[in-house]
């Protein structure tokens, strides 16, 4: 039980990071990556299955949100990178 949910969490994490990297804008991209990493790190030790489920639901909603926003931003804003020497 714990093993499968742990894998599930990891796969969600990887998916979130993968989608976050697609943001065209430097600021949104770095924020999304940083926030996802910090959020998962912060909640690493949570045990209560109800809380875990709620957090995972939030993560799934965030994933859908990021996918939608990436699409919107890609299609309207072609040249947006602020400071590309860094990324």
């Amino acid at each position: 039980m714990a093993a499968s949910s742990g894998e599930h969490v990891l796969s969600l994490y990887r998916l979130l990071l993968k989608e976050s990297k697609k943001f065209p804008s430097y600021n949104y991209r770095t924020y999304a990556l940083r926030r996802v990493r910090d959020a998962f790190r912060e909640n690493r030790t949570v045990e209560d299955p109800k809380v875990v489920e709620e957090l995972l639901n939030r993560a799934r909603d965030s994933l859908a949100l990021i996918q939608r926003q990436v699409l919107v931003q890609k299609n309207i804003d072609v040249v947006t990178c602020g400071f590309c020497r860094v990324c």
Binding site: K21, K22, F23, P24, N27, Y28, R29, T30, Y31, A32, R34, R35, D38, L65, I66, R68, Q69, V72, Q73, K74, V78, V79, T80, C81, G82, F83, C84, R85, V86
Partner: protein
């Protein structure tokens, strides 16, 4: 002149889009490239001016889009589903805004942004500060013309209000005290709680312009005894063109509407409420509440990094404003002995705000020390990264050093001449 395919590949890799996808927008890209080639700068500047405005958080945009596309009903339409769903969204947003400041949803009035000011008072005296936002000061001037008497309180050297002075200035016929929570130029945090308690004890209404503070520091209108509060959407990663006014119900604050007409928003601000914008504002407030601690931590770390780096490399830098009672994300630095216009022109690659403080220029004695204090305001926000701060700091240090080398005042200071002893001649 860049080769077209090379530029296309570069742009594609820069923006994370495959070169195939770009083909459908090829003509658009070409025109963009053309206009870019005309400018010297090929990349947009870094954004470090979060006090002026903030980019919209993607989560806010996500909340707003359905109401721009599908749920376009007028929230005041009572008779059909379009109206009902818009109204539900509007009320939900109202609750989100209210939760952020600890108010009741009925006490929130949506306005068209920032400071929509209106007073009705039997008493005639208003107190405000000299460092308020320009729109507050302008409103006060108009009220003076209408017969009110306004006292502009000065601030101490560190930017904070003197509570004793405020207490002495409050008269029996004072109706309103208006002091902003966090100053947008120097970032000082006024002692709102103490001021609120003082005003409540003297039966005076207390208004605070919390546009810069909401969502960045925890504010509770009941703890701070605030009667009126202005909230601006575009300062908290929300949409531009919307704001909210908190109007206390117990004890009741009576105000006169500025915008008359249909009687919407409790008669205080008529006009159809723009559902997508208020939904955005509500979402921004909810996100701000969730992210308050995390953002505050990140911003503090970055601000300290910025200040430490600059102060360790250049001498004679002054941070304006009280070092403790401040919001860390607004760093206002004055660089002495640096020519102002040149520094302004060198700021092109990072979007910063700057200005000149000549308040203390004394024309009789020719005290030029304050004239040379040119300040730069670094705004740090949710989306600022380490690399942006490092780059900004590096560039600023370089420029200040370069300008100081060219400055005759700096040479004199290096030789040990006291600037105050110099006699400046008129010509």
């Amino acid at each position: 002149v860049m080769n077209r395919t090379l530029s296309r590949k570069l742009l594609g890799s820069m923006c994370g889009i495959s070169s195939r996808r770009l083909s459908f927008a090829q003509s658009a890209v070409n025109t963009l490239i053309k206009s870019r080639e005309l400018e010297k700068d090929e990349l947009r500047p870094l954004y470090m001016d979060f006090q002026a405005t903030t980019p919209m958080d993607p989560r806010v945009l996500d909340a707003m889009l359905p109401y721009q596309v599908n749920y376009y009903g007028n929230p005041h339409s009572r008779t059909h589903a379009y109206g009902w769903e818009s109204e539900t969204a509007m009320e939900k947003a109202r609750k989100q805004v209210a939760d952020l400041i600890g108010a009741d949803p009925r006490e929130i009035v949506f306005t068209s942004g920032g400071v929509a000011r209106f007073y009705k008072a039997k008493k005639n005296h208003i107190i405000t500060t000299q460092t308020e936002h320009k729109c507050v000061l302008d409103s006060c001037r108009i009220l003076e013309a209408e017969g009110f008497e306004v006292t502009y309180l000065p601030v101490k050297n560190n930017g904070l209000i003197d509570l004793k002075q405020l207490q002495e200035t409050i008269r029996p016929d004072t109706s309103l005290v208006s002091i902003m929570t966090i100053n947008n130029e120097i970032g000082v945090k006024q002692p709102i709680k103490e001021i609120g308690h003082l005003c409540r004890s003297k039966n005076v209404f207390f208004h605070t312009d919390a546009a810069q503070a909401v969502g960045k520091i925890p504010i509770n209108v009941n703890d701070c005894k605030v009667d009126l509060m202005s909230i601006s959407g575009h300062k908290i990663y929300g949409p531009k063109g919307v704001g909210a006014l908190y109007v206390r119900r117990r004890p009741r604050v009576r105000i006169e509407p500025l915008q008359n007409g249909g009687g919407q928003e409790r008669g205080l601000r008529s006009g159809t409420v723009p559902t997508p914008l208020v939904v955005g504002l509500g979402a921004a407030c909810e996100i701000a509440q969730q992210e308050l601690e995390y953002d505050h931590k990140c911003v503090t770390v970055l601000a300290n990094r910025l200040v430490q780096k600059i102060v360790s490399e250049i001498p004679d830098v002054v941070m304006n404003g009280d070092p403790d009672q401040r919001y860390p994300g607004c760093v206002n630095l004055s660089f002495a002995y640096v020519e102002g216009e040149s520094l302004l022109m060198a700021l092109k690659d990072v979007a910063l705000s700057s200005g000149r403080s000549v308040k203390d220029y004394n024309y009789t004695t020719g005290d030029l020390m304050h004239m040379t204090f040119f300040f730069v305001r670094f705004g740090i926000g949710r989306f600022t990264t380490d690399e942006e701060v490092d780059y900004t700091v590096e560039k600023r240090i370089q420029q200040v050093k370069r300008l100081r080398e060219m400055s005759p005042l700096w040479e004199m200071v290096q030789e040990g001449i006291d600037l105050k002893s110099i006699k400046w001649t008129q010509h």
